[in-house]
Symmetry: C2
Subunit: 325 residues, 2 copies
């Protein structure tokens, strides 16, 4: 199949001139335009970029790749990304990688072949090497990625500090930190650092327990939590890495007759809908998901205007007190 | 700007022949093809459909319009639609109408101008007259719409029957049905019919209370539930129209010292993630969301092949017993 280069060779024009014709960008003489169209016809060239030039809206599309769709964090994130996209006149193409390498690769190809204006890659577990050759703005949210254009994160370390300080205030002396995943490096890992730092300062006994990343796929942590509570019967405070995990801590404690917040204080992370729907409702560290989504979208807009974008943007978190502390 | 008709007139071909050239469909002689390309060039015709022909994937896109994104029902639905889309080689363009007329209209325009392969419209409240002129397959999920191609629903009436039968089995004598919305007509309204039918048969006192549709926008039903319980202190069973409402019934009961399931049995609808994350976890009527999503996508595929599609598809529901009954 003929390429842009073939059209350029045939017309004796540069690739960028041909591209400008296809995209209706800048001044192009009628003669040049006709020459390009004639060559396209002759070579049966099928430009993928044509759609963009023909209907400006067509590739005002941002690909969003998430590892879960039926998870309150990603629901809230997607909801806010959709709102932000609307403001920037972008549309959202949505992909669920299900933490599978091959799906993520395929979706990246789809994004490329559809000439998206940018890609937003949300925290996931698959390899990063595929992103090296992406030539569109690639924004990561809560994910470590060497080859991305820019990352957007919440201040995870500060979140960990705030959680520990709050548990200390509530009188906890033996706490468990369930804030990290085994075998995965995520910005969220810094929560444990901040949490440990404050526990040490306050003289609180802190046990850090990593969660098997396999559980992240099923979102069922109950057995794991039950074992942790059996192994650590003196626990009077838990810092969970998500409100989904915190909800399951409530369930396990109810089953084992541990009263929350009387006997055990619990603090989650994210502040998604589930946090206010459990009984008791969950005290949590709120990620500013709305603002993170907005910034991610603005970074794509800026990158597309060839403006410099910050390689990392970290937004503050806040403590939302509810009934589990 | 030149239109397809202008190209047809210039070439003395029919519009459908020109369209076939643009879409690379069917047999077209080289002569005809060249004639069309020449006319396109002469008239500076900018076909919106070109993208489809040039890169088959480009408009293998299905627009999904939902009234909420940060709601567990729509999260689960979107998650399953994404999975189904993948199987049919479709991509999802996601739009959140937020139950606003003007946004829904704008999104429909976007879908049209992007030449989507189909639109899936999920339960919402806005007017239906805009859908009259849509010339792509329009599938509704849990929504009444005169002008759609086809609707996909769960068996709401049977769900209501099952809920009443289960509460009766659990010994309830004074139940409240919170399964409908005021001022809105939805397939879900039939839940109340089925519920009332069985209550009557079993001789159970049934009070049907419609929910103000304004609450649906905020998803905060607590005050409303509290008032209902104050007004009906003898209540020993509640049928809630969603697991989100059921979760809030648990919260209000906890606050008022009503023990679930001991003093009051509770049954939700949907079976979304929240149903298994509350304490106690929620007995519910499960919508076969996975199958509904799959069928919706298959209907778009069939409609695009000009196959006849059923105008209404109703799928069975099941009772999922958990801890609230």
């Amino acid at each position: 199949m003929a390429t842009l280069k073939d059209v350029a060779r045939e017309t004796e024009l540069t690739v960028s001139t041909v591209s400008r014709v296809l995209n209706n960008r800048g001044y192009i003489s009628e003669e040049t335009r006709n020459k390009v169209y004639a060559a396209m016809k002759k070579l049966n060239y099928q430009p993928n970029e044509l759609a963009r030039s023909l209907s400006k809206r067509t590739t005002n599309t941002v690909g969003v790749i998430v590892p879960h769709l039926d998870h309150p964090y990603f629901s809230k994130l997607i909801s806010n990304l959709e709102t932000a996209a609307y403001e920037y006149h972008y549309k959202l193409l949505l992909f669920n990688s299900k933490d599978k390498d091959e799906k993520e690769t395929e979706y990246l190809e789809m994004c490329k072949s559809n000439r998206v204006a940018g890609i937003i890659l949300c925290s996931g577990t698959v390899g990063t090497e595929k992103f090296e050759e992406i030539n569109v703005p690639l924004i990561t949210i809560e994910r470590n990625l060497e080859h991305g254009t820019a990352s957007v994160e919440c201040d995870n370390k500060q979140g960990g500090r705030m959680a520990a300080a709050h548990l200390a205030e509530c009188g906890c002396r033996n706490v468990i930190d369930m804030s990290g995943l085994k075998d995965m490096s995520m910005p969220a890992d810094q929560r444990a650092e901040g949490f440990a730092e404050v526990c040490k300062k306050k003289g609180i006994q802190n046990t850090e327990i990593k969660i098997d990343s396999k559980l992240y796929a099923t979102l069922d942590y109950r057995e794991y939590i039950e074992q942790v509570l059996l192994d650590h019967p003196q626990t009077d405070g838990i810092f969970a890495s998500s409100d989904v995990i915190a909800a399951q801590v409530i369930q396990v404690c109810a089953k084992r007759g541990i009263e929350i917040p009387k006997q055990l204080k619990l603090i989650g992370f994210d502040d998604v809908n589930i946090a206010s729907l459990t009984t008791p409702s969950i005290t949590t560290i709120k990620q500013p998901i709305k603002e993170m989504a907005h910034i991610a979208m603005s970074l794509i807009a800026s990158a597309n205007k060839n403006q410099m974008v910050p390689s990392r943007t970290t937004l503050p978190v806040t403590l939302v007190k509810r009934e589990t502390t």
